[in-house]
Amino acid sequence: MTAVEKRKKFQGLKAFLSNGKARVGLIIFIFFVLMAIFAPVVSPYNPSDTNFAQLAAPSWRHWLGTTGNGEDVLSQLIWGSRTSLTVGMLAGVLTTVVAVLIGMYPGYRGGWIDNVLDTITSIFMVIPSMPLIIVIASYIHSSGPYVIVFVIGFTGWAGGARTLRSQTLTYRNRDFIIAAKLSGASELGILLGEILPNMLSLIIHVLMGGIIGGIMSEAFLEFLGLGNSSVISWGTMMYWADAGGAMLMGAWWWLLPGGLAIAVVGMSMALMNYGIDQVTNPRLNTTPKEKVRKSSKSGGVEVVKP
C-alpha cells in the first residue's frame, strides 16, 4: 500500500469520525460490545438465579426488576448481549462473505457465471426471507444460536451481493484496473488488491446491515419459540416475557428491555451508516460548504459562486 493510499484511507476514517451521528453510533456500539465482553464483571447477579422475589418492580436492588421466575432482568439483559451480539456479528460476517463471493467476483468476471449468480441473487431478494427462515428452522430441530447463524447466512446475503455487484461493475473497465491487468496481475490479485480496497466502505455498510439483520433474525426466531429458549439472549427474554404473561401482569420492566436493547444497537448501526454515507456520497453532505443547494433554492444558479 502506497503512502497516498494510506492517507486516503485515513481521510475516510476522519470524515467518518467528523460526523456527529456516526460518533454517537460508534460510542453506543462500543458500549454494548464492552458490556458483552465484561458481562461476568458488570452483571449484578447470575442471570439464571431464580432466588429473587418474583415480578418485583425496579428498585435499588434490581434496577430493572425481576422476571416471573424470579430472575434479575438487568443481569439477563447484560448476559443476553453476549448471545445476541455474537450471533449478530457472526451472521453479519457470514452474510458479508457470501455477498462478496456471490456479488463481487462474478460482477468482475462477467459472462455466464455472472448471469447465473445474478439471477439467483434476484430470486433470493424477492423470496420472503422471514418465512423461509421459519421453514428451515422448523426442519432443523434443536436449533441453538449457532445453527441460527447459518440459517441467517443462507438467507440474508442477497441484498448485499446486489449492492456489491453493481459497484464492482463500475470498476470493471476503469483505467487502473486495466493497468493492473496489463501489468500481469492475477484475477484474484486485482479483485483483492485493487477493487476490494476501493469498496471497503461499501463492504462495511453491508457488514453492518448484516449484523443488525442477524440480531433481528435471532430475536425473530427466538421470539416465535423456534430457537433454543434455554439460552439467554435478547430474543429469549422477549419470548419468556410474552409467554410468561408479563403484559397481563403489567410487568413492563420485564417486557421491554430486550427489544429496546435491539432497537438501540440497530440505531447505532444506522447512525454509523450516516457517517459511511458521508464518506462515499459527498452530495449528502450538509456541511456549510455543501449547502449550495439550499441557497440556490431562493432562485438563480448560485451553485457556481465561489
Partner: protein, 329 residues
C-alpha cells in the same frame, strides 16, 4: 414487450425456485423430519392421508424426478394435502380462510407506509438541513431499528391493556357474525388499527430514508437546476421535476420491502392473535404440521412474488428507459 416477457420469465423462475425450496428442503435435512412426523401419526391418520403425506415428503421408493413432477402437478392444482392440525381439512381451505386477513393487513400497511414515507422523504430532502430534516431521519432511524415484536408488544401494552382504547386480540369481535355490513366492517377496521400501526411505524423509516437520499441526488441534477433557473415554481419543481424521478429507485426496492413487511406480519399476527397466514404458519410449525407449513410458505411467496411482478410492470410504465432496455448500461 421484451421487458414484459423478461419480467414474466423472472416471475415464473422465482416461483419455481420457491417450489423447489419447498420440495427439496425436507429431503435434504438430516434424518428427514417429515419421516419422523409421518411415523408419529401412524394409526392416527387414515391410511390414505398417510400415503399422500408419504408422497409429498418423499418417503417413497419413486425416483426423485418422478416425485418432483407429481409434486409440481399437485402444487399447480392447489392440492397441498391435508392439514394435520385441522385434520381432515385440506390445507387449501386453511389458506383460503387466512390469506384475506394478511393481504388486507400487510397490503394496507405497506401502501400507507410507502405513501407517507415517500412524502416525508421528499419534504426532508427539500428542506435539507432544516428542522424537518434533522428531526425526522433521527426519529425514523430509531423506529426502523425497532424489532416488530417489540413495537407490537409496546402498542398492545399501552393502548390495549393499560389504556384499553383498542381490542387486544383477534380480527373482529367474536359476538359479531361476519357479514358485509357497516358495523362488522367498522369492527374489523377497529381491530386492525394496532397491528397495522406496528407495521407502518417500523416500515416508514426505510422509505423515508431512501427517498430523501434519491431526492438529494436528483436535486443536484442539471435539469433541475436549469428548471429552477428558468423560474419553475417551487412546488412544481419539488413534485413534478424531482420527486417523480427520485421515486423510481425506491420502487425497485419494493419487493424486498414487502418481504420485510411479511416477516413483520408473521410476528404481529402472532402477538395480536390475528388469524392470517403468519399466525397459521407459526401454529403449523409448533404442531409440526408440515403440509400446512409448506402450503403457507408457498402461498406467502406467491403473493410477494406476484406483488413484485405487478410493481415491475408499473415501473416499466413509469420509466421508459427500462422498457426499452436503455438503462441497463
Amino acid at each position: 414487450m421484451r421487458y414484459f416477457i423478461q419480467r414474466l420469465g423472472f416471475f415464473v423462475l422465482s416461483l419455481m425456485a420457491a417450489i423447489s425450496i419447498n420440495f427439496f428442503l425436507p429431503r435434504l435435512m438430516p434424518g428427514n423430519p417429515a419421516e419422523a412426523m409421518i411415523a408419529r401419526y401412524q394409526g392416527r391418520l387414515s391410511p390414505m392421508a398417510l400415503h399422500s403425506l408419504e408422497l409429498q415428503f418423499g418417503v417413497s421408493n419413486q425416483p426423485l424426478w418422478q416425485q418432483f413432477l407429481s409434486y409440481l402437478n399437485n402444487t399447480f392444482h392447489g392440492n397441498f394435502g391435508l392439514s394435520i392440525t385441522y385434520y381432515p381439512v385440506p390445507v387449501m381451505n386453511v389458506i383460503a380462510n387466512s390469506l384475506p386477513w394478511t393481504l388486507g393487513l400487510a397490503g394496507t400497511a405497506t401502501v400507507i407506509a410507502t405513501v407517507v414515507g415517500v412524502f416525508l422523504g421528499v419534504l426532508a430532502a427539500w428542506h435539507r438541513g432544516g428542522v424537518i430534516d434533522s428531526i425526522l431521519p433521527l426519529v425514523t432511524t430509531f423506529t426502523s431499528s425497532i424489532p416488530y415484536q417489540w413495537m407490537a408488544l409496546l402498542l398492545l401494552y399501552v393502548f390495549g391493556f393499560t389504556l384499553g382504547w383498542f381490542p387486544t386480540a383477534h380480527s373482529y369481535s367474536t359476538i359479531l357474525m361476519p357479514a358485509w355490513n357497516g358495523p362488522f366492517i367498522v369492527n374489523v377496521l377497529y381491530h386492525a388499527i394496532l397491528p397495522a400501526a406496528t407495521l407502518i411505524i417500523t416500515a416508514i423509516g426505510g422509505w423515508l430514508f431512501g427517498m430523501r437520499n434519491n431526492m438529494i441526488n436528483i436535486l443536484g441534477e442539471d435539469y433541475v437546476v436549469f428548471a429552477e433557473a428558468k423560474g419553475v415554481k417551487d412546488k412544481r419543481l419539488m413534485l413534478t421535476y424531482a420527486a417523480r424521478n427520485a421515486m423510481l429507485p425506491s420502487l425497485t426496492g419494493f419487493g424486498m420491502a414487502l418481504g420485510f413487511v411479511v416477516g413483520g406480519a408473521v410476528l404481529v399476527e402472532n402477538i395480536f392473535s390475528y388469524p392470517g397466514v403468519g399466525y397459521q404458519l407459526v401454529a403449523a410449525v409448533q404442531n409440526e404440521d408440515y403440509p400446512l407449513m409448506q402450503g403457507l410458505f408457498l402461498i406467502i411467496s406467491f403473493a410477494v412474488l406476484l406483488a413484485n411482478f405487478i410493481v415491475e410492470m408499473l415501473y416499466g410504465r413509469l420509466d421508459p428507459r427500462v422498457r426499452k432496455g436503455g438503462a441497463n448500461s
